[in-house]
């Protein structure tokens, strides 16, 4: 039997929900969300896109990295309501017609992960890095990928995977 733990009186109302429209992985998505919901939580809990990970919720690990309007950002430090109208690409949106994106394949080829938890963020970050076009040398790739912590420490393999994709493009 459930215990009677709850009270019936409620006076503190959470913030009202606001309608937000996002294009997520190419699909127009409209949903109601409270202002305090981060883009990360909206993706994971409202849209069931759990590929984007929560590692720290404070912009300190990069596991939540997604592409918003083509730029890599930490979705944990972004309110979903602030991104109304934006195009969001998550790890779930990279493969096309069931074929892995070359970056995904490169991560597999180079064993650029172990536990896999930072991996979606690493891959989205790598996509952002290539789109930025600023990092060319291994030193530059290492520096520009330093916002994505990998506790399994696959770093050299991550750099190799990115170089593979850069070399091919």
């Amino acid at each position: 039997m459930a215990r009677a733990l709850a009270t019936t009186q409620t006076t503190l109302l959470p913030p009202g929900k606001i309608s937000v429209e996002l294009v997520v992985n190419g699909v127009e998505t409209k949903f109601d969300v409270a202002p305090w919901t981060t883009l990360l939580d909206a993706l994971r809990e409202r849209l069931d896109l759990t590929g984007t990970k929560k590692g720290c919720d404070h912009g300190q690990c990069g596991a939540c990295t997604v592409l918003v309007d083509g730029r890599r950002i930490n979705s944990c430090l972004t309110l979903a309501v602030m991104k109304d109208g934006a195009k969001v690409t998550t790890i779930e949106g990279l493969a096309t017609d069931g074929a892995l994106h070359p970056m995904q394949q490169a991560f597999i080829d180079h064993d650029a992960f172990q536990c896999g938890y930072c991996t979606p963020g690493q891959i989205c970050s790598a996509m952002g890095l290539i789109a930025e076009g600023k990092a060319k040398t291994p030193d530059e790739i290492r520096e520009m990928m330093s916002g994505n912590i990998c506790r399994c420490a696959a770093y050299p393999n991550i750099v190799a995977a990115i170089q593979q994709v850069m070399g091919a493009s």
Partner: protein, 338 residues
């Protein structure tokens, strides 16, 4: 995170009007620091005014040969902007030394100015902190103060300002454009941030009802002789223990004009006019650099865990001045210190 209302500002005057109407409201742009602090219940605005749609995203030439940077220009855009990389490379370098690529994509120019300290006690609501709750006491003075300040501290607070960008802006003598209910005003960079004194809860001299609209850079960018040298506990994605931004105007081996600022050591980016003056007209030499460093640190005071910062700052100043005078600025990707 506290319960809050969310509104959007349609233009600068609307933003100012909205914030004036609600003393517990805050602006949100990049959100990288504010949301971080809200999740820790350090910041608890009852209303967030989203200013990301304001037209403050341009980098424009000024009539006096400088640049006017809109407050909402993202840090990364600024760092890679051709006018910045060519004319104000010290600013580009400082920005790229901070945070991560993702955070720089989000963080705004105005927001970077308003970053709050990383002091452990400020972040932990279980401990007293005068900056968070005036009158509760400073836990850092007798606590873990390795990352805390050595200059300009007070008995009330020994927090540091964590920004890298601001250290470069101090050297460039940027001017901060702000708008408030009474109109616009310009704040010289040196007057923008405060020392803690007895009011450590205030980081800046921005009024509660004001909004930063732009950062103006004067024409002088020190594009030939500059550096941003950041010393930290790992090679990237860490706050500075000590950082030094330098801009020199050189005449051969003689320093015509010297500017340098320190990060990670004080409640604001730290400049010392007397230390800079001691370099003006002098030959760029290790002895002169050391003298300037000694002058800049003459009033430095260490605490249990951060006394090393005094010597570290001294050496970092000398090294940064050396890099700048030789025209070999620090790379932010090759971690060998030039």
């Amino acid at each position: 995170m506290i319960n809050f209302q969310y509104t959007r500002a349609s233009d600068v005057s609307d933003a100012v009007r909205q914030i004036a109407a609600d003393p517990t409201a805050k602006f949100i742009a990049g959100g990288t620091n504010l949301l971080d602090l809200m999740k820790e219940d350090v910041e608890h605005p009852t209303r967030l005014i989203d200013i990301t749609r304001l037209p403050l995203t341009k980098v424009e030439e000024t009539a006096t040969g400088g640049l006017r940077i809109g407050a909402l220009v993202p840090n990364s855009d600024l760092a890679w902007h051709a006018a910045i990389t060519q004319r104000y490379p010290v600013l580009a370098s400082a920005i790229l030394a901070g945070a991560s690529a993702q955070l720089r994509n989000m963080a705004s120019t105005g927001g970077n100015l308003l970053q709050r300290t990383r002091c452990f006690y400020f972040y932990d609501t279980a401990t007293p902190c005068n900056k968070r709750e005036l009158g509760s006491g400073c836990s850092a003075i007798k606590g873990i103060n390795r990352i805390n300040a050595i200059l300009g501290t007070s008995d009330a607070c020994i927090a540091t300002h964590p920004s890298d960008m601001c250290v470069a802006l101090a050297v460039l003598e940027a001017r901060i454009h702000v708008a408030g209910p009474g109109g616009e005003r310009i704040v010289p960079f040196a007057d923008f941030h405060r020392l803690p004194g007895e009011t450590p809860e205030q980081d800046t001299n921005l009024d509660a009802n004001e909004i930063v609209t732009a950062v103006e850079l004067p024409a002088e960018g020190f594009a030939r002789n500059y550096t941003y040298l950041k010393i930290r506990d790992r090679l990237s994605y860490a706050f500075a223990l000590v950082s030094v931004a330098v801009g020199l105007e050189m005449d051969g081996t003689t320093i015509r004009q010297a500017r340098f600022a320190l990060g990670g050591v004080a409640h604001k980016p730290w400049r010392d006019p007397s230390a800079e003056a001691a370099l003006n007209g002098q030959v760029a030499s290790p002895e002169n650099f050391r003298r300037a460093a000694d002058l800049a640190l003459r009033d430095a005071k260490g605490f249990e865990h951060n006394a090393f910062k005094i010597e570290l700052a001294r050496r970092t100043i000398v090294r940064a001045l050396t890099q700048a005078s030789r025209g070999t600025p620090q790379s932010q990707s090759n971690k060998k210190i030039a």
